[in-house]
């Protein structure tokens, strides 16, 4: 057991830090320190390309697909240095964290060669088409249909909560490809270009006043026959595999963002005297502890994954961070008092901490609600019986 880094690893750190500092202090100074997922998409696309060009986009991927075969320790170091240098949220995080790993796991060699380098080079941005209105977390209840027509798949239906679809080139879509099939059977996992007449993206306004999520409509949308992951009808298996992918080293970068949020809460508490309130002190300490435990939990899971062990504890990570952040949002408001309930401008758009309070209510919902996460933990990690489906009795 070892938490420190070796001299070689520290040399890698110096190299990464030097490059990041130069770029984010120089040509990309304008995106340094951004925190919003939706700000400056054009420049963040440039930034993805720059990372790709220099081989810093997907450092843990095989070199053959544009990565640099980095060890876990190197990936951890890069994530830390990326955050330390003020790197902005990755515009292509779905491509890097979800689409890429799924293609690596389930794609043919042709598909890997076609899609992975384009992600690693920052040339193609991805989003995901999973949830549907009326289906929510229930992937088996998908109603979007797909069928073969000549050399294409044709897709009809509607997805919802397609984060970042407005900036994306590709969307992966779970669709029902066998007519009359029910539940998890007869689904296919399709890779679909977004920029075509059959695809319409419409923003959803959130309780924060922003519109980060979208509804995406498929009305005779098309994709080439080859753009299917796994066999037709195997979409469930692929999707479940994808749900199993932990977000990997990117969790550490995410945590650096959480660190900034907690620091802002502490600064606010110091500024208005709430830092001396023993009840607030307890909650800030609990947040400090939770943040560290996310970090070391992630390092445990990543170490195990590197050693080829799947640690079921990885299934607990989503609920941990989502709940932690939701609690932090409430803490922030309790620290700020009425001042936190007002915004400086005329628009309904709140500063970071009040926005966190509102936004974090979505954290425990999207990407699998806390309830779905608890089901998954209970069934996959603890081996408890599955919940009976009403329609499959």
């Amino acid at each position: 057991m070892k938490l420190g880094f070796s001299p070689d690893e520290e040399a890698f750190r110096a190299e990464a830090a030097a490059w990041l500092t130069a770029e984010l202090g120089g040509p990309f100074a304008d995106v340094r320190g951004l925190t919003s997922l939706t700000d400056a998409p054009g420049r963040r696309r440039d930034w993805e390309r720059r990372l790709g060009e220099a081989g810093w986009s997907c450092v843990g991927w095989p070199k053959a697909y544009g990565g640099r075969d980095a060890t876990l320790a190197q990936q951890v170091i890069f994530a830390e240095e990326y955050a330390r240098a003020g790197g902005p949220p990755r515009l292509n995080h779905i491509g890097i964290e979800l689409a890429g790993p799924t293609i690596l796991a389930f794609g043919s060699d042709e598909q890997k060669a076609r899609f992975l380098p384009a992600i690693a080079k920052g040339e193609e941005i991805w989003c995901q088409g999973y949830s549907e209105p009326g289906a929510g977390s229930d992937l088996a209840n998908v109603r979007t249909r797909a069928w073969r027509e000549g050399v294409d798949w044709v897709i009809e239906g509607q997805k919802v909560w397609t984060s970042l679809a407005q900036f994306s080139d590709w969307i992966f879509v779970i669709a029902r490809s066998e007519e009359g099939s029910r539940g998890p059977k007869g689904l296919s996992f399709l890779l679909v270009p977004v920029d075509q007449p059959g695809v319409t993206v419409r923003p959803i306004h959130q309780i924060t006043g922003e519109a980060e999520f979208n509804e995406t409509f498929f009305d005779g949308a098309r994709t080439e026959a080859a753009n299917i992951l796994g066999a037709p009808g195997d979409g469930w298996k692929v999707a479940m595999g994808l749900l199993g992918f932990e977000r990997g080293v990117s969790t550490l970068a995410q945590q650096m963002g959480f660190r900034n949020e907690l620091d802002a809460v502490i600064a606010a508490a110091r500024a208005n005297g709430e830092a001396q309130n023993p009840l607030i002190r307890q909650r800030i300490a609990q947040a400090e502890i939770g943040l560290k435990l996310m970090r070391y939990g992630a390092l445990r899971m990543l170490t195990d994954a590197e050693d080829g062990r799947l640690n079921p504890a990885a299934l607990t990570y989503k609920i941990q961070w989502a709940t932690w952040r939701r609690d932090l949002g409430e803490l922030a408001m309790d620290v700020l008092g009425p001042a936190g309930e007002t915004a400086p401008g005329g628009d309904y758009a709140f500063p970071a901490l009040p926005n966190l309070f509102l936004y974090s209510r979505a954290d425990t919902i999207y990407g699998g609600t806390n309830e779905i996460q608890r089901n998954i933990i209970a069934e996959r990690a603890l081996g408890l019986p599955r919940e009976p489906r009403g329609d499959l009795k």
């Binding site: 088996a140 006043g209 628009d347 309904y348 709140f350 209510r361």
Partner: protein
């Protein structure tokens, strides 16, 4: 001892229920949210037509001559529909202040117009450093509920309380973009503004705090009940995994826990209201308890409402966020639950010698 509504109270409750259900619709509330946070037609109907703003004002002062139980009933129903009304500001705070602390002349001049709704007042705690000299206030009040809509302000400065008119020279009023748009804040800046002292500021402040706190607790009760009712309805109709989500035990248990909280909040609010009306020794304790418990319950239920609705609960178009944001506002105003619990800790004798 009979802890249930009288026939007259039950009738008021029925009336209020029907009134808000019929008129305080999501559409109208959202229209009001875009402005000063007041549905003017609703306010007009509530005050001029039904005379409800003066429900707890004695008949001799032009009011309804009823009490805190009746006021709590109205506030609960307003809360149930997140109604966009200056109920806290004008009815919960300003009227009781003037009623308890105004001179006979002030009461005669103001209460009938406040009760009739033609005059809207709010209540402002002056920021530290605010001073009065030569009958004029200089300083500020930072978060005045429904301040942008009020015609008159009862301003607390230390142990004194003053009436300040909206149009008074030297008063700068800044509407603030507020998280809860059904009860938006404004900021007041006083630049040597003429301020008329209330005759008995101590009594005025006590009455405003007590009544305002009760109104917030009742609002929270109604809101929490609505969160429960709407989430139960959704859980009964929403199908996931081939079953109504309300058939999943974890969902059922969480809805049950919401009900456990709401029912305790209900006991708390009407105990507090009745204790004030009866002049009970327990009244102060009960008001603290009602505020702390009902606001915690509302926060919990509004959060659960969003969570159990899933993604749709997080959209602007769904009403869940109106409750969620009002729960936060109810919680913050006039003392947080922690603050009220600390007051109860003192009443429980924790500071007496062992």
């Amino acid at each position: 001892m009979h802890f249930a509504f009288t026939d007259e109270q039950a009738m008021i409750a029925e009336t209020a229920k029907a009134f808000f259900a019929g008129q305080a619709t999501s559409e109208r509330t959202r229209a009001a949210m875009a402005g000063t946070g007041v549905d003017e037609a609703l306010w007009q109907a509530f005050t001029a037509e039904l005379g409800l703003a003066g429900v707890a004002v004695p008949e001799s002062e032009g009011g309804g001559g009823l009490g805190m139980v009746e006021l709590a009933i109205l506030a609960e129903e307003a809360g149930r529909h997140v109604a966009a009304l200056p109920l806290l500001a004008s009815v919960g705070l300003a009227i009781p202040a003037i009623l308890a602390g105004g001179s006979a002349e002030q009461k005669a001049r103001l209460l009938p117009r406040l009760a009739a709704g033609g005059l809207v007042a709010s209540f402002a705690e002056a920021a530290p450093g605010t001073t009065r000299s030569d009958g004029a206030l200089t300083g500020a009040a930072l978060h005045v509920p429904h301040g942008a809509r009020a015609d008159l302000f009862a301003v607390v400065v230390g142990d004194a309380m003053f009436l300040v008119e909206r149009d008074a020279p030297g008063l700068a009023l800044t509407p603030l973009t507020s998280m809860d748009q059904t009860r938006p804040y404004a900021r007041l800046d006083f630049g040597a503004v003429a301020a008329e002292p209330l005759a008995d500021p101590i009594a005025a402040l006590a009455a405003a705090q007590r009544t305002g706190t009760l109104v917030l607790a009742a609002d929270a009760l109604g809101g929490a009940q609505a969160c429960l009712d709407r989430t139960v309805a959704y859980a009964q109709e929403r199908v996931q995994f081939g079953r109504a989500i309300g058939s999943f035990q974890a969902v059922k248990h969480r809805l049950a826990d919401m009900m456990v909280g709401v029912e305790q909040a209900r006991s708390a609010v009407y105990w507090a209201a009745c204790a004030i009306d009866e002049g009970s020794d327990e009244a102060a304790f009960a008001v603290h308890a009602a505020k702390a418990f009902a606001c915690d319950t509302y926060s919990h239920c509004a959060g659960e409402m969003i969570q159990l609705h899933g993604g749709i609960g997080f959209t602007w178009e769904h009403d869940a966020h109106l409750y969620f944001k009002r729960a936060r506002s109810d919680r913050t105003l006039l003392g947080t639950p922690d603050w009220h619990r600390e007051r109860i800790a003192r009443m429980a004798g924790l500071d007496e010698a062992a």
